[in-house]
Amino acid sequence: MGYQVSREAADRVFEQLGQDYDVFAPKVFAGEGCFSDTDVIRYGKVNTLDEIEWERRSDYSFKEVLLAVNETLFYFTENETTVPSCGEKKILIFLKSCDLHALKKLDTIYLENGPEDFYYKRLREKASFVLMGCSETCENGFCASMGTNRSEDYDLYLRLSGETVSIDCKDPDLQAYFEKEDGKACDVTPGYVTENAEKVTLPKNLSVDSFAKPIWEEYGSRCIGCGRCNFVCPTCTCFTMQDILYRDNENVGERRRVWASCQVDGYTEIAGGVDFRKTQGERMRFKVMHKIYDFEKRFGYPMCVGCGRCDTVCPEYISYASLIDKLAKEEA
């Protein structure tokens, strides 16, 4: 059950929300794409509904709102450490169904995989999620194959159509903002796609024996190890640690955690110089098997949500979707 309000009313509500929430949504950053005169769509703070990119899938996922690219864990002086504060306001995140499914995987890793992560949890607890529907399939997405094309686990659903805004609100806190406005009750069902151009079948019989498959080297030999596939992925959660000693006073500094990529040099390098996965083929195998095999073995469902961002961003035109589909075909 939902209702409709006028666009004006929705704008008023949005302004009100801004008093209590930091709102993050996909935005077009004009001219900030990889190549000249190209844009990038990534998450940023928004103040109005117009700033939001509603249609196109963001190039980078929502994960950076909950997991900053660089996050200072603590500052240290000689004898003391200080944990940075994380802001007063609550957080509202606009996202699409695939990313809402990805949220579950982030929760799994950071909250249900051993000790809870303090930094993730403190942001997660004050975050609410606004679903944006999909009117048509995005490039390379295969959400229908992964069963992530629909989601009911939203706090709020918003759809803009001209001068009216359709709303379905499940969160009482958010509901309170809309109650001040006159709304017309009606059925509101989030838009979703039922079919993608890409259809992917997951292989069912992967095992450690799959390590010997030639496909890893086939793809690995094409990979340049830039890590874009990891950085755009809504479910990649790896980070590395950096201790920074301030240049002017080496007794003071900070410890940061920073996004890491299993495809980039250094990821498996340990003290003494041993590097476990040296070739891009081995790294490709690790990534793919983690997405659709290791994670599932441990938690009962695959990690990948089929958003297709990794395929779209790869400068070498490596299609992860095509790779896993080939693995499935090899089994048939």
Binding site: S36, D37, A260
Partner: protein, 324 residues
């Protein structure tokens, strides 16, 4: 009756007088080398009707229709009209072909319509310059290239325009992957290093090529909103002293470049050797004669440089001397 043709006029009208008596070629300028495919069909028609069916792709990105009869020049000019209009070439009288040929076609590499390295739309800037300077009988050669790779070989021209971008670095998006450092070292000038896991850019060394931006996997490096250019001066080929153009302005903008080019026309009018054969003297030789300081005075007349622009106070050229 023998053929009675004013060859000076014909040359100015963009016809070449060939080595075969009575024959020549029709030269079509294509600013920025950027054209709709339908023009190819029009060129073909002329070549098959009035030429020998052969078209030469010129070194300045134009067409040269070979084997035309010189008595057909007027008829060819009529057929050139739709090409001239499609390419938006400045013209005084319709149907009379090109009003000048001294100022040569403005060349450009493919630019950022296609190339991932290019820092701007080279063809559009080429067309803007063409609109400003053509027609003119003075011998000017201008070329544009998208990035310091200089695929456009612009340093062989009087004016070389090289695309630059001022890298914008957001340390909060940087994951210390070193893709920019490796890219800058292997493909460019090794202007980046890492300190405390973040990138330090040597601003003196950086040539604004944009490799760091294309290599960055997280959008920590992005391009400046403003497009920047390097302007190189007075490169040339030729018999006496071929040489590469030298840097004059770094981190300059489009408007400045256009103004300097227009100022240079005034400079040349003032100082060109009145006895120069065919009224044609390379600008570089004029500058060699009157001195760079005098040229600079004329070139910068009414020009306000951007605060970030770096100007070479004096420019020295080398090259090969066959004239000493």
């Amino acid at each position: 009756m023998g053929l009675d043709i004013n060859t000076k006029k014909a040359k100015k009208n963009a016809f070449r007088i060939g080595k075969v008596r009575g024959e020549g070629a029709s030269r079509i300028r294509v600013p920025g080398g950027y054209l709709k495919a339908e023009i190819l069909g029009l060129v073909q028609e002329i070549a098959e009707k009035y030429g020998n069916g052969i078209v030469h792709l010129t070194t300045r990105q134009g067409f040269e229709i070979e084997g035309i009869r010189l008595e057909d020049m007027d008829a060819i000019n009529e057929m050139l009209q739709p090409i001239i209009e499609l390419l938006d070439i400045n013209q005084e009288n319709r149907g009379t072909g090109y009003p000048a040929s001294g100022t040569r076609n403005v060349c450009a590499c493919i630019g950022n319509n296609v190339c991932p390295f290019a820092n701007y739309d080279t063809s559009q800037f080429a067309k803007r310059i063409e609109k400003e300077i053509f027609p003119n009988d003075l011998h000017f050669k201008i070329a544009l290239t998208g990035c310091p790779n200089d695929c456009g070989k612009v340093r062989l021209h009087d004016f070389g325009i090289i695309g630059m971008t001022m890298p914008q670095y957001d340390p909060s998006r940087c994951v210390s992957c070193k893709a920019c450092i490796k890219g800058c070292k292997s493909l460019s000038v090794d202007a980046l290093r890492m300190e405390n896991y973040k990138i330090i850019r040597d601003e003196e060394k950086c040539i604004g090529c944009g490799v760091c931006v294309t290599k960055c996997p997280t959008r920590a490096f992005t391009r400046s909103k403003k497009k920047y250019y390097k302007l190189t001066l007075m490169g040339r080929t030729g018999k006496r002293n071929p040489r590469l153009g030298e840097d004059f302005l770094l981190w300059t903008d489009e408007d400045t470049i256009v103004k300097i080019i227009l100022n240079t026309y005034r400079f040349v009018k003032e100082y060109i050797d009145p006895k120069a054969p065919g009224g044609k003297e390379h600008i570089g030789y004029i500058i060699d004669r009157v001195g760079f300081a005098e040229y600079k005075k004329w070139a910068l007349e009414g020009v306000g440089l951007l605060p970030e622009t770096k100007m070479k106070e004096c420019v020295y050229w080398n090259g090969v001397h066959f004239d000493r």
